[in-house]
Amino acid sequence: MRPDTYTVLIGGKAGEGVKKLAQVIAATGLQLGLHSFQMDDYQSLIKGGHNYSLVSFSPIVIHNAYHKADLIICLDELSYTQHLNDLADGGFIYYNSSEQTHQQGIGIELSKLMKEHYKNPSNPSLGGLAIFCAHLGLDNELMLRIIKISYKKNIEENLSFASQVYSLIQAQSKLPDAISQAPGLHLFSGNQCIGLGAWAAGLDTYFAYPMTPASSLLHFLASMSAKLGVKAIHAESELAAANMAVGAVVGGAKAAVGSSGGGFALMQEAFSLAGISEAPLLCVLSSRPGPATGVSTYTAQEDLLFALNQGHGEFSRIVASPDTMERAFSLATELLSLAWEFQIPVILLTEKHLSESAQSIRLPLGDACEATGLIHDALEPYNRYQITDSGISPMLFPPSEEIIKWNSHEHLESGLRTDQAAAMVAMKDKRDRKREHIALACARYPRIAVYGSGSRRIFAYGSTALEIREALQNLDDSYQLIVPIYLEPLPVDQLLPYTDSPALVIEHNSQPRFATFLKEKIGLETRQNILKYDGRAWDPLVLATKIKEAFDA
């Protein structure tokens, strides 16, 4: 069974810095040698409303935040009423007593104090940080150092405000003891892992139009453009982004696009263009509840079949979904690399829960692979779509004396357009010949992940694996989680050994879409489905109970 965890919940209005505070708190735990997982629940609004973040700490690796908190810090009244029930046994709740009076918990006059310390009172979350540090008996000096590093504006005011709040509070709890100093652990969001992975593999250009929960990938790469050189272009629409990306490939750049379902829907024609023109393209699809605009800031897995069947016409693609933050990094490198090896579009399918949550990990730099394509060597005259046994035609990029013609129509080897029957068949056959090679190449990488060795079998994919793995840390070892990472081509052979008994299938859908997919593709019988489709991630403890019940029943 897992050692103790410690969970902090911070609630407040949008604009009060809740998310940022959660990051700072998570980073603080990291400094103390603890593993941490942070997730944010926020609404589609800019100021007001109610946001909250959860940060869970543990001496060992932690895959998901818990929902019952040992420490709740409420920056406003709504947070108190919303989260009183989320207090773990023996937990503490702090509230903003300038806004409310209550029996339970500890009141701090955050708003009043803020007015005393700031010219333009604006950052209640510094009070939250002080509560966290003081309540857990962290050193005042440590707190001041953290503030200086993390908050670049209003430094003096921040320091005095936080110090005063700190002085009002008594240490009453402590964080779990660290096992080691956990060197090399850094806090990464899933989107950061994807961005860094793609960049590591060779990404030169990223094209997108903002859409939650993919926007932060655009923001991250844009913020890194000065440092890493990568060009992050916010285009006029998703159609523009995707067609620009294909253009960038023609120009010789490694390119990626990203969006959520709605924006991805608008990229389908260009996705198909990448298919016929054989333009290597990495597409990141981060799902939120749909259909259409749906629910912008929550999580879901509704886009599985949509992703698998993107784009009109027949062409090969790879679809894979990371089950861990580390995998988000390594998979992004694999996928960009496979895209270039086979000159095909690939989809990295993920969800808000992975994209926007953050975990303390080591970037698996050793797993990174390079994206390189077969390049024409200049002896014979060049044909962009040379018919080959492997189906792979050498690429060539400008500047070149050779003529390089890419085409959205069916075409001859030269890239000139054709509508002749025999030529159509020849070119389709050429592209189809890649299929078996793709399947073989994917086998170079972990295509499924198996966690545990118990007989009670669970199937899931994507970030649902994070929730389940943390749930399983709270159960005995009679469980086994099977996670297909590559969904197309699906590693049927690798999965078949796990289909000898009916399994529990867990997914974030209202209908058992993933379960049906598994049934159709590998014949898996479902023992029971656990479906969640309210946009929220599971609390690992609640999920653990559900899992146990599913098998005990």
Binding site: T205, V230, K231, P398, I403
Partner: protein, 278 residues
């Protein structure tokens, strides 16, 4: 000198204005080669339509993209490697209908590239439906009783969107078009050339244009004068409507100036990350 012909049989209707454009473009490119443009660095893109077939008839590298997206693909090429010269061919349906946003954003952005608009006032390839530039009342298969909407004026629209080089030419005057093309490509920034292009099958405007065509004496004094002249009731003025110096998007945007040429090697990338996240 690069031979600009390809083995592809030409399938434009006999006497189509596109032949004039093709000839002019070849002549223009040859002049540009003479003036030092490296053919190896020239890239073309096009949309889908009769105009797009020019891709098959020019022995130049590039991509025959999606309907309406020629300018977006062109923008991608240019952003990837700004040392390339990028010329895009669009139809009026293509560039001002399906792909209107890309055309106007390219003008706004001022990426250094050229768009040649084959304005034949209809959707030629899909059998003559009305286009964004067809006159009100145009009868085509989708508007058998006559189209119910007034046309855009390409030049005023592009000027309003901020295009830094705007010109008009005529497919039946390939010499003029070649000259304009040379200037457009030399212009640093987004260049737009509206080419009046008769479509003998669905919108035969030879007579109409022949009787209307006049040359601009000079670049109009300001953008409003330019718009006024572009919309002149009696004459179709050929020439340059705007030629303005403006900062280039590729110079102002962050990241590498040339992503393709500056792309770090794999090892370097890994080293960078190792250092950043020790």
């Amino acid at each position: 000198m690069r031979n600009l012909d390809t083995p592809k049989a030409n399938t434009w209707c006999p006497a189509c204005g596109n032949f004039g454009i093709l000839n002019a473009v070849k002549a223009g490119f040859k002049q540009l080669f003479d003036q030092g443009l490296d053919p190896a660095k020239l890239m073309i893109t096009c949309g889908i339509g009769c105009h797009g077939k020019i891709f098959d008839y020019l022995n130049i590298s590039g991509i025959y993209g999606l309907h309406g997206r020629a300018v977006a693909t062109a923008s991608g090429i240019k952003l990837a490697n700004p040392e390339l010269t990028v010329v895009s061919f669009g139809g009026d349906g293509d560039s001002l209908g399906e792909g209107l946003e890309h055309t106007l954003f390219a003008a706004k952005r001022n990426l250094d590239m050229t768009l040649i608009l084959h304005n034949n006032g209809n959707y030629g390839l899909t059998t003559g439906q009305f286009s964004p530039l067809s006159p009100i009342g145009f009868r085509g298969l989708s508007t058998p009783q006559g189209s119910a909407e007034q046309p855009f004026d390409a030049i005023p629209l592009l000027l309003a969107a901020g295009a830094s080089f705007v010109a008009r030419s005529y497919s039946a005057n390939p010499k003029h078009l070649a000259e304009i093309l040379v200037k457009a490509v030399m212009h640093r920034g987004f260049s737009f050339i509206e080419v009046l292009q008769p479509c003998v099958s669905y919108n035969n405007t030879y007579q109409y244009y022949n009787s209307r065509i006049k040359m601009l004496d000079q670049i109009p004094s300001d953008v409003y004068e330019a718009m006024r002249l572009a919309k002149d009731k009696d004459h179709s003025y050929l020439g340059i409507y705007q030629a303005e110096k403006r900062d280039l998007f590729e110079d102002l945007s962050s990241g590498f100036a040339n992503p393709v040429k500056e792309s770090p090697a794999f090892r370097e990338r890994i080293e960078t990350l190792r250092t950043m996240y020790k």
